[in-house]
């Protein structure tokens, strides 16, 4: 098997498991809906107030649901010692990492696409002009979250209290992604000119590149046993 095949099989395997169990995506979507509901109660927003905080609410919901998906990504491998089987793959461990990143990214992005119309309807947003740039922001920020999140999902899966430790370790490290995604989304929703929030897109792109490389390298040490 070449490394590329490893990546492809891992993505295929994760998709098939998800299609058969429908556990991850459905729990992510429902959790996000509950988060949105709680937020709209706790802020009691009118349309004007909603414009100010909606980008923040959106990314908090996406990040929290992302953590659910990321946590399941490796904890599902604990059944039947699948993790040991993965560790025995003769190719470089980085291929497993890339496959898992691709699958996690796909799940998170899909959930975001499903949830975004909810935000548009519930908070009465105007998105028609900014939709392409919004998709670009979603793409870059989700890639950043899944690049570093996959590493920490693999790292926390074999320790005690892993459900608690994944967000505790992950959230401080993704502070730049959260700030950049919220600021860029806010700009795009307000219809600001691109030059005003372009730097956040650049920051997201830099973050993605840096942490895909660093996590790819560090993943070797996580799987090393």
């Amino acid at each position: 098997m070449t490394s590329f095949n490893v990546i492809r099989w891992i993505v295929w395997k994760d998709f098939v498991t998800e299609l058969r169990s429908r556990e991850t995506i459905s729990s992510m979507v429902f959790f996000a809906l509950i988060v949105i509901l709680i937020f709209s109660f706790s802020f009691s927003m009118d349309q004007q107030a909603a414009r100010e905080v909606i980008a923040g609410i959106m990314w908090v919901a996406f990040a929290f649901t992302g953590i659910i998906g990321l946590g399941k990504s490796f904890s599902s491998e604990l059944q039947n010692d699948c993790l040991e089987a993965l560790q025995m793959v003769p190719e470089a461990k980085g291929a497993i990492y890339l496959g898992k990143v691709a699958a996690n990214f796909a799940f998170m992005f899909l959930v975001e696409i499903l949830l975004f119309p909810m935000f548009v309807i519930l908070f009465n947003l105007e998105v028609v002009e900014g939709i392409s740039i919004l998709l670009l922001i979603f793409f870059l920020a989700t890639l950043g979250l899944s690049a570093i999140g996959t590493l920490f999902s693999a790292l926390t899966v074999q320790i005690r209290a892993r459900e608690v430790m994944l967000p505790i370790l992950l959230l401080p490290l993704v502070v730049p992604v959260m700030i950049a995604a919220v600021e860029a989304t806010k700009g795009a929703l307000n219809g600001d000119p691109l030059a005003m929030y372009e730097q956040w897109l650049k920051l997201l792109a830099v973050y993605d590149v840096v942490f895909t490389v660093v996590s790819f390298w560090m993943f070797e040490f996580v799987m090393d046993s």
């Binding site: 942490f211 560090m218 040490f221 996580v222």
Partner: protein, 242 residues
């Protein structure tokens, strides 16, 4: 069992670091609290800077040492390097928390608020969160080898992340509101600089001294556990023989 040669070196030299720290900190405190004039703008409050600034510098140096030590550990897998990493992480966390605390005490009379989402304050808080996360992670892993490896990975990723966090927070603040209070532009006079230099050197020496003691402690603890394991297995073997 022989003691590791690094630990023997540490045992020989740590006294010098300890007494050097005591001398520098004593001189710095005397100059800072009694010998130097109060600041024209800030008054007596400025004196807390003699503790705050060295604490902040030292904790950043500590985090750099942690990241370099973690790289070294992943490369050589020497358990004594991991003992050093664990010691330096705990010390950096304490120094970071103290830097934040003294900064808040200084900020109350100067800025008239305990807390503001200033770029440096925010990135220091995130640094503290990463260090506490590192220490928590270590307590949740059962296997010592795995504990060391996972800790090293987190420390390296966090170290790479730190400059990006700082830049993003700085941009975020400057976009929202112009930084209302800035330390820039307040040039420092030599009367204030001399005690600050003494305190900085003293604080670094104190950090090194505490690091040496703590590393030794963790190392001896590991030896003790190994010895205990061996004795227990010998005991069980001798029982099964009879």
């Amino acid at each position: 069992m022989t003691i590791h040669r690094v630990i023997r070196k540490v045992q020989r030299f740590q006294g010098w670091f300890g007494s050097g720290a005591a001398l520098c900190l004593g001189a710095g405190l005397y100059l800072g609290l009694i010998g130097s004039p109060a600041d024209y703008y800030q008054g007596e409050v400025v004196r807390i800077m003699y503790i705050h600034v060295p604490l902040a510098h030292t904790s950043l140096i500590g985090y750099t040492v942690l990241a370099l030590g973690s790289l070294w550990y992943l490369w050589k897998r020497d358990p004594i390097v991991d003992n050093m990493c664990q010691a330096v992480a705990a010390l950096s966390a304490v120094f970071t928390a103290l830097a934040l605390g003294t900064g808040m005490i200084w900020g109350k009379p100067t800025w008239d608020t305990w807390w503001t989402w200033d770029a440096r304050l925010t990135s220091f808080t995130v640094l503290l969160l990463i260090l506490v996360g590192y220490l928590m992670l270590r307590t949740f892993v059962d296997d010592p080898e795995k504990e060391a490896r996972y800790g090293a990975i987190l420390a390296i990723v966090g170290f790479v992340d730190l400059p990006i966090i700082h830049f993003s927070v700085e941009w975020w603040r400057t976009l929202h509101q112009p930084q209302s209070i800035s330390m820039r532009g307040v040039s420092i006079s030599s009367g204030l600089l001399v005690p600050l230099v003494f305190m900085s050197i003293g604080m670094s020496l104190l950090f090194s001294y505490m690091l040496m003691v703590r590393t030794q402690l963790l190392y001896l603890d590991r030896l003790l556990h190994a010895k205990k394991g061996r004795l227990l297995s010998q005991f069980h073997l001798s029982k099964s023989d009879s």
